[in-house]
């Protein structure tokens, strides 16, 4: 009998490559611009932060009698945010961990960490979706409502935020002597779905057009999730970006593009409840024969907007 590769036993045909393949990991964008707040332990589970409203201006001069003017009332606004607990775990039999070639518990830890971070991101996304003020894109040409996002829509959103005294998140990136680059203005941050990439790339109006990240004069102060900028907004994309199905006037999917100013929203963590990886070896949890490992993670988180005037949901369709 001739010996060929087809007659080799499967164990000989196959080699197990110990280098694991990459697991897709989504961009985490929704907590990037949140003000982090720590809730101390043993002080309840609702974090309250307050601000004092502006006082009225007083442009009328006192007259010659020099009477005292009326007093003003100082008004305080409170914002409450409840912290909740989140947890998940996996169970691995000891048989798996002592027979599998790659260190499966290490992979479990990595995947738990990824699931946790993506969950934290989604919680903030859903919070912004529920609470941010809604503006429809109307400057596009697809005839839907909202239309696809246009530069005029972005400019309108910037005008609204500027009109509300909202501060930019990033400073201007000055022009440099590099061909094909353009300066980037002081900017608010927009968090949106990767499905919006074609719309962003096609945005142009007059002398303005979308500046992709590779056209920035300097990319040292950028993130991998950043896609580009136009006028005074920088755009950050994620596969987890918010999309509402069939929500346009024509029944098309609508991207909820959150444009945030500084201190517009926050994320609250409990001091004693920060992200934890919890490994329990065989023998715990009603496991008298020591057959099962468990690996889990938990975190405490609350999320809320802190000033409703400083964050917008610029809705946009994604079709031509």
């Amino acid at each position: 009998m001739t010996v060929s590769i087809s007659t080799m036993p499967p164990q000989i045909q196959q080699r197990y490559n110990a280098k694991l393949l990459s697991t897709p990991e989504r961009n985490l964008i929704h907590n990037l611009f949140a003000s982090p707040v720590e809730l101390p332990d043993n002080q309840g589970f609702i974090d309250r932060q307050s601000r004092y409203d502006r006082l009225d201006l007083f442009p009328v001069p006192l007259d010659d009698a020099q009477n005292n003017p009326p007093s003003q009332q100082l008004n305080r606004v409170d914002v409450d945010c409840r912290v909740r607990v989140y947890a998940t775990y996996i169970v691995l039999t000891r048989q798996v961990t002592i027979t599998n070639e790659d260190p499966v518990l290490n992979s479990a830890a990595a995947r738990l960490g990824q699931a946790m971070r993506e969950t934290q991101d989604v919680l903030q996304r859903d919070n912004l979706e529920a609470t941010a003020s809604v503006i429809n894109s109307v400057g596009g040409t697809n005839g839907d409502l909202p239309t696809e996002m246009s530069i005029s829509d972005v400019d309108d959103a910037v005008a609204v935020l500027q009109g509300n005294s909202a501060e930019y998140i990033t400073n201007m990136m000055g022009g440099e002597n590099k061909i094909g680059t353009a300066p980037i203005g002081d900017a608010y941050a927009c968090m949106l779905s990767t499905r919006m990439i074609p719309i962003m790339n096609n945005m142009s109006s007059g002398n303005s057009s979308f500046t992709k990240k590779f056209q920035y004069p300097n990319i040292k102060d950028t993130l991998s999730s950043e896609w580009g900028a136009v006028n005074n907004v920088r755009f950050f994309v994620s596969e987890l970006g918010s999309v509402t199905a069939n929500a346009s006037a024509d029944g098309e999917d609508v991207a909820n593009c959150f444009i945030a100013a500084k201190e517009a929203y926050k994320v609250v963590w409990q001091a004693g409840g920060k992200a934890r990886f919890i490994y329990l070896p065989p023998g715990y949890n009603n496991d008298p024969c020591m057959l099962r490992h468990t690996a889990g993670c938990s975190f405490y988180q609350g999320q809320c907007i802190t000033n409703d005037l400083w964050i917008l949901n610029l809705r946009s369709t994604m079709h031509a």
Partner: protein
């Protein structure tokens, strides 16, 4: 694995609304149940009353389906009612978490009576839409001013129409001008909203009053004392209220009216009115009421006087209120000739398998 366990259970008394629209049970475990069992406590062996007495759902079955037992009417002694096995393929038992709800197929509408201000949506098929469900309108022919809006259903006539009663009450109670013309076609899509709290609401009407009343298109979850703010584009008339904050004095969430009364004098403002369909077609943003901040709880029984000492409103804290739901559809309680009665008491149990083997 955890041992096979009963992860949740309890009992409930049916109401008339439950029978017509179904009900949600909150399953506190994060695990999706593998097996759900319902038994009628009061109906089991009840004399002379044909009804369903047991339903179950198992993970291999389609969401929304259920299998059960119907008990015939029997009044003799000894009482030996016939039991009949029964299956329903929709509007039965569904389990989901509200952060990742199921989606529903859009259904066609042939008319929306906006010109009469009644907002009755004619539909040859109303599908599984029940009172209290959330729906979104789109691709309407005419009435583009509410295309893309979300509403809560206040009445259903099966396979004839649904009523968007909260919108209608903005006309009948709030004084909103009826639309110029009806929609003559379009689609209605049922959806289950995420329960991040609080949520912005579409404004259906704002009255001109010393204490304005704001009407919404669906039930609202604002609370007395909470501070809300408004985004009202000029196309809606009352643009003076745009970006203004206001304290909620009282909240109404009845079967047909969703509104809040606020401590804001809108008497001198421009009248709130929906843009025409043509204006909406040209592009307009919706009028919305957004949560702004927490406030002092009003004195009990008073719309204007703050509680003394000041009461802190903890109900309005931003929160994640998503839950795992076991939805019991109205189909369980409305089997032809075996309809359940109000105040029937049912027990329910949800189980998780230790090991599940499907062949």
């Amino acid at each position: 694995m955890l041992p096979y366990q009963m992860i949740a259970g309890g009992k409930f008394s049916l109401t008339t609304a439950n029978i017509s629209s179904g009900l949600d049970l909150v399953c506190q475990s994060q695990d999706p149940p593998d097996f759900i069992l319902l038994k009628s406590i009061t109906g089991w062996g009840e004399a002379s009353d044909a009804q369903a007495i047991e339903w179950w759902w198992e993970r291999s079955m389609a969401q929304g389906s259920a299998k059960g037992i119907l008990q015939s009417s029997e009044g003799s002694t000894p009482q030996l009612p016939a039991m009949t096995s029964y299956t329903i393929s929709s509007n039965g038992i569904t389990t989901y978490d509200t952060a990742n709800p199921p989606s529903f197929t859009a259904l066609a509408t042939t008319a929306i009576t906006g010109s009469a201000g009644t907002f009755v949506v004619s539909m040859a098929s109303t599908g599984s839409i029940a009172v209290g469900d959330y729906v979104r309108l789109y691709s309407t022919t005419g009435e583009l001013q509410i295309a893309g809006y979300t509403f809560q259903v206040t009445a259903v006539t099966a396979n004839v129409s649904i009523t968007l009663g909260y919108m209608a009450s903005a006309v009948s109670a709030g004084g909103l001008a009826a639309f110029a013309a009806d929609a003559t076609a379009g689609f209605v899509e049922k959806f289950i909203p995420n329960r991040m709290y609080p949520r912005y609401r579409y404004v259906a009407m704002i009255t001109k009053a010393t204490e304005a009343v704001v009407y919404f298109t669906e039930k609202n979850d604002f609370t007395p004392g909470e501070i809300v703010s408004f985004r009202v584009p000029s196309e809606f008339g009352m643009e003076e209220i745009n970006n203004l904050p206001a304290r909620v004095l009282s909240v109404t969430n009845s079967s047909t009216v969703s509104s809040i009364t606020i401590d804001l004098d809108t008497s001198g403002f421009t009248t709130f009115v929906f843009p025409t369909s043509a204006v909406a077609d040209a592009g307009v943003s919706p009028a919305v009421c957004v949560p702004s901040s927490s406030g002092v709880v009003p004195y009990n029984g008073s719309a204007t006087v703050p509680q003394e000492p000041p009461g802190t409103n903890l109900q309005d804290a931003f929160d994640n209120r998503n839950v795992r739901v076991i939805h019991l559809g109205s189909g369980l309680f409305n089997v032809s000739a075996h309809t359940s009665d109000a105040e029937d008491v049912w027990m329910w149990q949800a189980y998780k398998y230790d090991s599940y083997q499907a062949f």
